[in-house]
Symmetry: D2
Subunit: 352 residues, 4 copies
């Protein structure tokens, strides 16, 4: 009854997600480690088409060359059944970049060093003719007091100051942005407008607290719905707005055994696909279309000035200021935004 | 297609909710005032059975006796068609009780004065043989820096120190508790366990920020679902747990005209009823029942000791400490909490 | 120049605080373990008079009886120089009590089991005639989604439902309460008013996020000042309000070596003593006393009714309602709360 | 004893700050309006050198041309004693730009319209040869659900997409950034690094909640200290980093009469000057200089590569990867960040 994933859905998982063994600040592991070949097979079963990993996910920090090679060969073997090895997007997450005390780090100098480093990386990749792009992943805090480039906005601004800005974009994470109470969907729209959504981390987060990494769709269904609606149907703009992997970066709860791990992995996919269905029905509903028109959502896409016009035309329009009749707005026809939200609610709940 | 309310649903609204004229800290009213008789008729249309009001909702502060009487007569006339005038629950919300600066108010003395006041009220009501109970409404802050009795817990603790604690309970508000990031449903469970849920304010709130008063169901669908599930079906305990009014305390957005006001009022009711349907189906689903059993949710209701036993029996059980085998728990059968959450999600989305 | 601690200051530390090795969710230890005897000697040097520990701080979970005995003897040897072993307050922190998903735990049943457990403990301790009391430590979340009894208020309310409430109090932690944005000082005042401040955990926390455990005084100096003012000088009420240990529950940053560990331990003590000095000067300043009087802070301690009077006297006072002149309050003499806050600021900054 | 302001300190106030009459969402005004000439005189007395105002502060929306002219003449008369009328920085705050519901506004289109509008303004100002620059003021929310360009980062990124980016900078507000829990000082450093700190709004905010607008220095003394240290002494970089007005955007509490209004205005200035003194002493303290050196704060300003070098030199350095000895870092010399924070604390408290 629940929908099934295809390769075209481009669902991918971090090796560290299903591989999380349950360790947390107050307790040790609750699950044994999973072998990478097994992980690849099981993720393929639940509907994933891709896999990502940290620098130390596949082999521990300090492994010998031989140990590394063995793990790479084993992974390659597993992937050969489904895909090929080869990363095009390198994500940079500055979890240790930041400060717990304001006097202990000069953030201006830190930004300069960060810039020096990523400019150098871009130069190297360009020289080597590698087909690689970089995606910065913002996060506001944890475990350090305050991480640099804490939100989508700060990272986006930083990228514009680089030597090769075209090679850099963002890897925004749902939960990270919600840790500040900011609207993730609005941030993604600003990223799309700037052409900088290079990759995306999907998960769940219940409010402003430590990074929870719940499964996608297991918290804040409204923002999850609006996000899928934006990615798959372009939101109010229409059109598919992002073509990269739908990457899940979550952690199965400590309370789960291996069966629970795979069920939690599948939950991410099921919820994404259910929200995609709901979004499709929402866009197709004539009553929604009528409500969108009444709310003048599409009108915002029209430039205020006609082609060729300048501010003189605006100045000549006395209705906007000199003859502006504020009273006529009081009690005038409303926008019906609440009705639109209610239509979205009813579609989200599968009640239409 | 969406469900319809009956009197048994006990939906009520504050007069100030649909009567909100759109004024906010940065702008004046966007809608003209509504007449109270008209409000009563329209609320009955959308499915309400009751009405509540502030001390100055029905007539302005400083009205003459004649003005008050007129308004009371007009309201009575309207209500006579549906119900009778007569409040049994008086809500006390301490919006001006608190402090912006820690040195400017002695909270211990303030709690003593608050206690003196409510003890006096209870004595007066008892002497007069009025059929009245009091419900304290907690709120953490706004507009003052910090309000006294900021959460359900603080108010519940205060009540136990009164002279007539049986006359006092709480009127928790969904949005107020979410302003602190606390779990509202857990708070309601503690209130129910203490027998102190006297009234409830339902609305919506998107995270820790100013008091938003969105329509019920227009934010945090998970807590909204779990709350309706708890109220209507007793949550995991089963049974209907609260029999008072389902009272909506929300504000229609500034962007709405009068049509939008009534649509927003109806949205509260529709969402409550949809969540009630979803909760009913969730509880009836055999797969959910099997998952609840696997997660051992009901086992928690069983006392640890058998009747008549004391701690000696526990001490005699060496498996709990001396012979405890921690290793046997590592990698053992999980609880399947994520599966349960996923089943709840699919029911919430109407996908089962 | 900075003040020095004496035994009368009753400063104590958890063994796990200075013993924290720097492990966090994203990295392993940065410091080697410290021997318990060495810890006791160094803490005595910086000014501590007491030591606390978790069940597994002194010896690892799963130690043999012999290993335990050795560690206890070594600790006893170290303490014999300064004090004797013997805990009177047992703290209970429910870090694993709670839920990540609302459907997976019946909080009412959980509260009943928790009550059964602590009632049993109290019965056992009473039967054994142990000189022990229990202190519940609230925390809102982390690592579980939502912990039960999340704030001072919730725990205080729970205690009133126990069989032997007199044996139970609270161990509030500065940082835990700030994770919800609530006012810690107001919570302590409610606890003091209820006679339930059994122990206290002092540290620092910068806003609503994961549990930071910074040193006391390294975040939110206003609440730190108001707290010390309340504990040492009774706040506006006057008098020393709490006589138990001033217990620091903090974590030295990962970036520190052992020298930094002892400097961070000392920072807690120095800051407490500096704030105590500031508070003493604040209370002694004639301008502050005059501002407190102008702000009518002490008047709140006076009962509204005279001894022997009832509500009839209030009803007879027509100035409170029938003849109330609201207009006379507009533009009337203010309370000068901002002036009081500014005086506190200048004392805090050592500028008076 | 407290320091006195001079014109060189460049303190300015919004007309709406001391003019706030106490109205809040739950109550009407508590103070009568102040005449603009009186305001100018009193602000000059407490140490201000400048005045700012909203479009409707000086004369109400809908005033006649004659009414406007009268008010302008009166203000000019008052200012002629101290300065001249003439604004060089226009602040744009998008308080009504945003959305309460994700489906009701296409943020991409909204950003395009916002860009069209400000490009047009810049063109007009350029054509007219006005000596004017624009400063965007970010705010995350309130009263609308989510405001566009919610943080310093988002606004900074937006500016880089304009036709005349050199005419646009930011007017960050202390309290607005703290509403998201982000670090304001780090944001200012990113702005300074980008050359975009055009103006600044100073006030106080206690955590993530509604916009409080407390007096500067009446909340979060650590960030206030680090901010003044950065502005006046360049933070770790040294040098004065910002030369524009120190503009206070705060609200006197409802509880204050006119005397309290002027005392609260003065509190902003006193606190700024006290923190400036503390910061100067902190920078001059030899122990601080030694701790900064030990913490290697200044080293971060040195480029990683020598002039003329490229990544080949880095690749040739085998100690950074192939021969990297992770073990040598465990337990090695620490950075002493906590010591630095403690030195800052003691300077802040005036204890050194």
């Amino acid at each position: 009854m629940t929908p099934t994933a295809s390769r075209d859905d481009k669902f991918s998982f971090g090796l560290w997600t299903v591989g999380y063994n349950g360790t947390d600040p107050f307790g040790g592991p609750t699950r044994p480690p999973l072998d990478v070949v097994h992980v690849v097979e099981k993720l393929a079963e639940v509907g994933a088409y891709g896999l990502t990993f940290h620098d130390d996910d596949l082999f521990a920090f300090g492994s010998t060359d031989a140990e590394r090679q063995t793990q790479i060969e084993r992974l390659k073997g597993a992937l050969d059944r489904a895909a090929e090895l080869g990363a095009k997007t390198f994500v940079m997450w500055g979890g240790r970049e930041g400060a717990e005390y304001d006097t202990s780090k000069d953030i201006r100098a830190a930004l300069q060093r960060y810039r020096e480093a990523v400019n150098l990386l871009a130069e190297y990749v360009t020289d080597k003719k590698y087909d690689i792009q970089f995606a910065i992943e913002p996060k506001p805090n944890e475990p350090r007091g305050d991480i640099m480039l804490p939100t989508v906005g700060h990272a986006l601004a930083f990228i514009t100051t680089l030597e090769r800005p075209e090679m850099f974009g963002l890897n925004p994470e749902f939960g990270h942005e919600l840790m500040t109470g900011l609207n993730f969907v609005a941030a993604i729209q600003q990223l799309l407008e700037a052409g900088k959504l290079f990759h995306i981390d999907l998960n769940g987060q219940r409010g402003m607290k430590y990074d929870q990494d719940l499964a996608f769709g297991h918290a804040d269904l409204y923002q999850s719905f609006a996000l899928v609606d934006l990615i798959e149907h372009g939101g109010p703009n229409g059109g598919r707005s992002y073509d990269g992997p739908r990457h899940f970066d979550y952690k199965p709860s400590r309370t789960e055994d291996e069966t629970g791990v795979w069920e939690s992995a599948k939950a991410n996919i099921t919820n994404y696909l259910l929200l995609k269905e709901r979004s499709k029905a929402f866009r197709a509903d004539p009553e929604v279309q009528e409500a969108l028109a009444a709310a003048k959502v599409a009108e915002l896409s029209e430039p205020t000035l006609n082609p060729g016009e300048g501010y003189e035309q605006l100045l000549a329009d006395r209705t906007a200021w000199e003859d502006f009749d504020a009273k006529s707005y009081f009690g005038a026809k409303g926008y019906g935004f609440v009705r639109l939200q209610q239509l979205a609610t009813e579609h989200l709940l599968g009640a239409r």
